[in-house]
């Protein structure tokens, strides 16, 4: 397996935050009719404070993996651990950012950001103060009193990220969050995510079908096989955070090499290292 100690960061081996062993899951469609094996015997570790990208061809069970860790789906077999403890149903310790934004249409932007704090019973003045700090982080303070339908797709997703971070989860699970956003906003959002993540160093599991995005964002990139998904390869991305801007990476040789390597793996031409 590729899970050799990586030389990334300070050189020490970080603890495992999420441990996935022998995970198999059957996917059931929303109407309950379609059913197929989405993940088969997948083993994977997400380290404490790392940004792990998961990439694979469509139908490889990437989103199913997120849904299982979030507690929306029950595994058929295998184990899922967060800090060494088994994962049960959904909970605030695992924040999720969805492709569809999933903002509550009946709440203002500020009240969406403070959703988790409100559910915990935090008084309004305190949670609004915290909410505004997170709106400042995503440069959307002026939108505090708007409703989600008044925002662009890119703005909605920034609000969704702020909502997840404001609730201070143990891990942030991101399910193709920028797939529905236009290309221009997507690049801005990716750069913003690099900046925000560098400040918080939260453990992130980021699922995408874009190889470029996976390499741009991740400390490591996990490549899954076509469905049912298993781990095909794990690639370390040793590009310093401060270099992760599209203007700079355009002619960065290491970025180009890693992108090509992951692309070959996804398309089936490459061999696992």
């Amino acid at each position: 397996m590729a899970a050799l100690p990586a030389e990334a960061g300070a050189g020490s081996v970080a603890a495992s935050k999420i441990t996935i062993r022998g995970l198999s899951i059957d996917y059931v469609s929303e109407d309950g009719r379609a059913r197929h094996r989405a993940l088969e015997d997948l083993s994977l570790e997400v380290r404490e404070n790392e940004f792990l990208s998961v990439v694979g061809p469509s139908g490889c069970g990437k989103s199913t993996l997120i849904a299982a860790i979030a507690g929306f789906l029950r595994p058929r077999s295998g184990s899922l651990l967060l800090d060494g403890k088994p994962i049960g149903g959904p909970g605030a310790d695992r924040g999720v950012v969805f492709q569809e934004y999933a903002l509550l249409p009946w709440r203002t932007v500020l009240d969406n950001v403070t959703l988790g704090l409100r559910l915990r019973g935090m008084p309004r003045s305190e949670r609004d103060r915290i909410g505004r700090q997170f709106l400042e982080m995503i440069n959307l303070v002026e939108a505090a009193d708007k409703y989600p339908h008044q925002l662009s797709g890119g703005m909605k997703q920034r609000v969704a990220v702020a909502r997840t971070l404001a609730n201070q989860p143990e891990v942030m699970l991101m399910d193709e969050p920028f797939a529905a956003v236009d290309a221009q906003s997507r690049m801005t959002l990716q750069e913003e995510l690099v900046r925000i993540w560098s400040q918080s160093r939260l453990t992130v599991l980021f699922v995408t079908h874009s190889v470029e995005e996976a390499v741009f964002l991740g400390d490591r990139v996990a490549v899954l096989t076509p469905g049912p998904g298993r781990l095909k390869a794990m690639i370390d991305i040793d590009i310093p955070r401060r270099q992760r801007r599209w203007a700079e990476l355009g002619n960065n040789l290491l970025f180009a090499t890693l992108r090509q390597r992951v692309l070959d793996l996804v398309r089936g031409a490459g061999t696992p290292p």
Binding site: F72, G91, G95, V96
Partner: protein, 256 residues
């Protein structure tokens, strides 16, 4: 958003009024079959002056409001329970389908036997009608809340009844309002009909009483009052409720 200025909507009413004025002059319809606008206005005036008209209107409206509260007070919680719980749904759906086919008015004979002629029987009939006009809207509203919203609220830490107030009720509200609106329209029609058959006062009762004396001006006045009251109720209650909630949230585009 489309704003309805209201001006265009008054044109058919003006045309209808003109036709009403002209038809008796141009045809040989006997006066007792179609009263003139003047006679109806005269009846309106005398009804207001002697207090009988406001009394009937209030009696009907009070009954409608009570039936509306009882019907929806049962339909909305039960609709939510059916949508959320498979067992409740399996248990009650066949019975509800059976009962829904028996329209409100079909209950009048039994209601009269049980509760006697008067307010009780009329109230039973319209509460029944309103319940069935509302419940399926609530069920649909809850069932069509996107799964991703449910997941988002759960992942933010919601438990038990928090799901109800954070997600279920606001998420289904657009459809619940449709249910409130249609059920009140159903209830309003059932009310007038029930008062005609089993009432002892109210607008419907007054219209049926007028038949005995060939007072067609009272009958036509009753019809106009029914329509005008509904226009006012709809504009005052439901259009406002929609603008304050689902239109503001972008869940419904303003049409009226």
């Amino acid at each position: 958003m489309r704003k309805n200025s209201g001006a265009l909507g008054t044109v058919p009413f003006v045309a209808l009024g003109l036709a009403w004025l002209l038809i008796p002059m141009l045809t040989k319809i006997p006066p007792y079959a179609l009263p003139t606008p003047g006679e109806v206005i005269g009846r309106l005036y005398s009804g207001v002056v002697d207090g009988s008209l406001p009394k009937d209107v209030l009696a009907s409206l009070r009954r409608l409001l009570l039936g509306f509260c009882i019907g929806n007070g049962l339909a909305i919680p039960l609709g939510i329970a059916i949508a959320l719980n498979r067992r409740v749904s399996d248990l009650l759906r066949p019975l509800l389908t059976f009962l829904a086919s028996i329209g409100g008015i079909a209950w009048v004979p039994l209601a009269v036997v049980w509760l006697g002629v008067g307010s009780g029987a009329v109230l039973f009939v319209i509460a029944n009608q309103i319940f069935f006009g509302s419940i399926y809207n609530t069920v649909t509203g809850v069932e069509t809340i996107p799964r991703v919203l449910r997941r988002a609220v759960l992942s933010n830490g919601a438990r038990g009844t928090q799901m109800l107030w954070e997600l279920i009720v606001p998420g289904a509200l657009a459809q619940i309002i449709v249910g409130l609106r249609t059920s009140m329209a159903y209830g309003w029609r059932a009310l007038v009909a029930a008062e005609m058959i089993a009432g002892t006062n109210g607008i419907g009762f007054r219209m049926m009483e007028a038949v005995k004396w060939y007072q067609t001006d009272t009958i036509v006045l009753g019809m106009i009052v029914i329509g005008v009251l509904w226009l006012v109720l709809d504009a005052l209650l439901f259009s406002r409720l929609e603008r304050a909630t689902v239109v503001r949230w972008g869940l419904l585009r303003e049409t009226a």
